[in-house]
Structures are given as structure tokens and as C-alpha cells.
């Protein structure tokens, strides 16, 4: 298992973490511990939101860009982390874990 896979497994094993999806530059989920339908649904939705967020950040300051989107909802917490081409979505149940 390479370094990336180890890190993903470690995050997935954290208490309260319900799902982790890694999406590549083409927008294709390359790693997920959720079922296919949910994976695609989340990927599509958060890719759109992330793209929108980046446009907002560029509008505010062309030299800046978002690196993390932390979405807190009533039921859970969704973290969208991005770097260069890839992005990762992690869903955490807010009642458990850190």
C-alpha cells in the first residue's frame, strides 16, 4: 500500500468518519468507501461547489485560492480539501470523534 492509500485508510478509520472520497483532475472518484451512487452524487455536487468557491476566491483576490472548504450542517460535517488537481471529500458525523 503506498503512502496515499495509507493516509486515506487512516482517515477512513477515524471515529465518526462516514465517508472519504478522493477525486482526480478529471473529476473521477478514484477512491471511496461509499457505494457507487452516493460517491458519484457527492463527487458531482461538491465539485460544483468547490469550483464555485474557487471562482469567488479569485474574484476577491486573483492571487489567492481556497485550500479547504469546511461545511458544517445540522447532522454532520463535510470537509472538502483541495490541492492542485485533486480534491478529497470527508464526511464526519458531528456527534462522534474529534
Amino acid at each position: 500500500m503506498n503512502e496515499a492509500e495509507k493516509t486515506i485508510k487512516r482517515i477512513q478509520a477515524q471515529k465518526g468518519v462516514e465517508g472519504v472520497i478522493v477525486v482526480n483532475a478529471e473529476g473521477i472518484p478514484i477512491e471511496s468507501n461509499l457505494d457507487h451512487q452516493r460517491t458519484l452524487h457527492y463527487t458531482y455536487n461538491f465539485q460544483q461547489l468547490l469550483a464555485r468557491t474557487q471562482r469567488v476566491m479569485k474574484d476577491l483576490d486573483p492571487q489567492n485560492e481556497a485550500t479547504l472548504l469546511d461545511i458544517q450542517t445540522e447532522k454532520n460535517n463535510i470537509l472538502v480539501s483541495t490541492d492542485k488537481d485533486y480534491f478529497m471529500i470527508a464526511m464526519k458525523n458531528s456527534r462522534e470523534g474529534p
Binding site: Y42, V56, D59, N64, A66, T67, L68, L69, K75
Partner: protein
């Protein structure tokens, strides 16, 4: 109203806080510690983005709702509290 002002002052006095804006349901800044054009720009863009984020959350689960949004960027961090709006 005094309570709102006190809360704003308290947030603004926290170390590292660059600006605080209170935005109404139409995306218009009603209170701000920043200059007018910056406030209007941030309020408008972030209001729209927050609505989009809320839509995304509801799309995934209609029973769920957005309560807080945090955008970390290379230079700083923007925190949006929806407070029921």
C-alpha cells in the same frame, strides 16, 4: 441592538480577525468593520456562495441544513455563520 454591537466588537477584537460583516437576507452588508466597497463585494459573493452551499447540502439530504461554512485559503480564512437565514 447593543448586544449585536458588543458581539461584533468582541469578534473583531480577537487576534487575527481582519474584518467582520453582518449580511442581511438580500446579501447586503448591514454592519461591517471594513470599508464599503470591500464589504459589498464580500457580502454579495459570499451570500451567493452560501446559498449554493446550502443548496448542495439540501440536495444530498433534504432534511439537513447548513449551519456554518469555513473557507480556508492560502492567505486567510473566511467564516460564514448562517444563523438561521
Amino acid at each position: 441592538m447593543a448586544e449585536v454591537e458588543d458581539t461584533l466588537k468582541r469578534i473583531q477584537s480577537i487576534n487575527g480577525v481582519i474584518g467582520t460583516i453582518v449580511v442581511n437576507a438580500e446579501g447586503i452588508p448591514i454592519r461591517s468593520t471594513l470599508d464599503n466597497s470591500t464589504s459589498v463585494q464580500y457580502a454579495g459573493l459570499l451570500h451567493q456562495l452560501t446559498m449554493k452551499a446550502r443548496g448542495t447540502v439540501r440536495d444530498i439530504d433534504p432534511q439537513n441544513d447548513l449551519s456554518f461554512l469555513r473557507i480556508r485559503s492560502k492567505k486567510h480564512e473566511i467564516m460564514v455563520s448562517t444563523g438561521g437565514l
